[in-house]
Assembly symmetry: C2
Homo-oligomer: 249 residues x 2
DNA sequence: CGTTTGGTTGAAATGTGTCAAACTTTGTGG
DNA sequence: CCACAAAGTTTGACACATTTCAACCAAACG
């Protein structure tokens, strides 16, 4: 769909930033020059943990992560999912101690970037600094929507809402088509994201399937009727703050 | 406790920033020079609304606000409270369309600052820009904790948690002493913050009183046993990212 | 293939919501 | 300063969404 003027379109970080505003050649080059240590991390591994004091952040190059917190009695709450192009712990650039953990939901390719390099990039390229700040603000907007979702929507609508969010977010980075996407997430992980039990996730998914709002084949999710799912999920993508034309029609 | 070298300590914005790092005279002066339009706003008024495209942000000089979102069927979820020194819609500096509304819970003194003036301040004083970015990150951390709170804690502990958070946040800006604080918030407003019904808020508060964890006289909240309330709320103030010595012992 | 992991089902328990009424406090105008 | 209205709090009975527990089934995997 997009023209592909540079092979750099394959760099998830650049792709993500380009989805918001146009980078200058200079800025694009600075991003390409960012020293990044790439590692492949197995499924279900913590990348960073609550309490850590990291000296670097990381970008997701491929795969899915979840950002989560635990209660004292061991219950887990996922507060957001991470997809290619996201920098889930960018906050650690300013906040010394991590208040969240990030784990892989699938095998992931992760690019670690030292805070030093990020600071350097930000001071040299104020527009990139602004874009990073903006990214953390959009992340905050997602958290707010999740508070609403978990606090005020019933399980059925809550699930529909998260499925809508993932459709739009994955679409924006080219990981979803018009009909759905690949989401290799277990029902227990959904439960931790929605604040309900895995048993109830199962029942809600069955209901959504019975109502014709979703179809599942393995880890592939199909959305036969986007408008209906949107309605069920009370979903308005404004909070994702995408460019207008990134939104699903 | 703090020495009072400047009368500027009374400026809530400066006080807030000073609570994180030391401002230079130059920076302090720049903040004092910030053109700010001050307005007194009555109780229960929206200051900004979801969908707005504001050209200015605002600082809370006194009073309490709530930041909230609504579901399609009219249920409200408060996602955070705002206290003196906070800038609840600082995000609008980067995100054109507001995804939240902010309303007064009490009469408030509000200082409006144009985005233009804020941009100017940020480019002239990178450390203040960093401090603002950091502020929005701490706000994000609070949202995350609220997702956990609403998603994974029962009403009783959820309430205890929010009461702990307010104790620590208010203490940090001098609005709480060691024993408690003034919090003029109705039970219905608590309900919207906790994602439960106002009736259940009432029952939970009675239980907390019966258990000796809180005492209430009008809008004054007393905490007879901080450690016990902390335990009940599963509260660890790390996510507020205060300076070490700001934490309640 | 057997073992593990994840999905599905049913029945009983429970936290929380809803509704409606009574009570109490707060604010205000006569 | 009283009287009344408005707003907020408290109570009880009942409904219901969701949890828990336990068992069973299906799919993935080495």
């Amino acid at each position: 769909m997009l023209p592909a003027p540079f092979p750099t379109d394959h760099h998830p970080l650049i792709r993500k930033l380009e989805s918001i505003f146009s980078l200058t050649d200079d800025e694009r080059q600075a991003l390409l020059d960012l020293p990044m240590q790439v590692a492949v991390i197995k499924q279900d591994q913590d990348i960073v943990r609550e309490g850590d004091r990291p000296s670097r952040s990381f970008a997701i190059l491929s795969g899915f992560t979840c950002t989560y917190k635990m209660t004292g009695d061991g219950k887990r709450q996922i507060v957001t999912f991470g997809v290619a192009g996201d920098i889930p712990d960018l906050q650690s650039l300013h906040l010394k101690v991590l208040d969240i953990s990030v784990a892989t939901l699938t095998p992931c390719s992760i690019g670690f970037i030292t805070h030093e390099a990020l600071w350097d990039l930000c001071t040299r390229h104020p527009r990139i600094a602004a874009a990073f700040w903006r990214e953390t603000l959009v992340e905050g907007a997602i958290f707010r929507e999740w508070v609403l979702n978990v606090g005020r929507r019933e399980a059925y609508n809550r699930m529909a809402h998260v499925l809508c969010e993932m459709q739009v977010r994955l679409r924006a980075v080219g990981l979803a088509d018009d009909h759905g996407y690949e989401l290799p997430i277990t029902q227990t992980e959904f439960a931790d994201a929605l604040g309900i039990s895995n048993v109830h996730v199962n029942r809600v998914l069955q209901q959504l399937r019975a109502d014709g709002l979703i179809e599942t084949k393995g880890s592939r999710l199909n959305i036969p009727d986007w408008e209906q799912l949107k309605t069920a999920g009370d979903f308005d993508p404004t909070y994702l703050h995408l460019k207008q034309d990134e939104a699903v029609s």
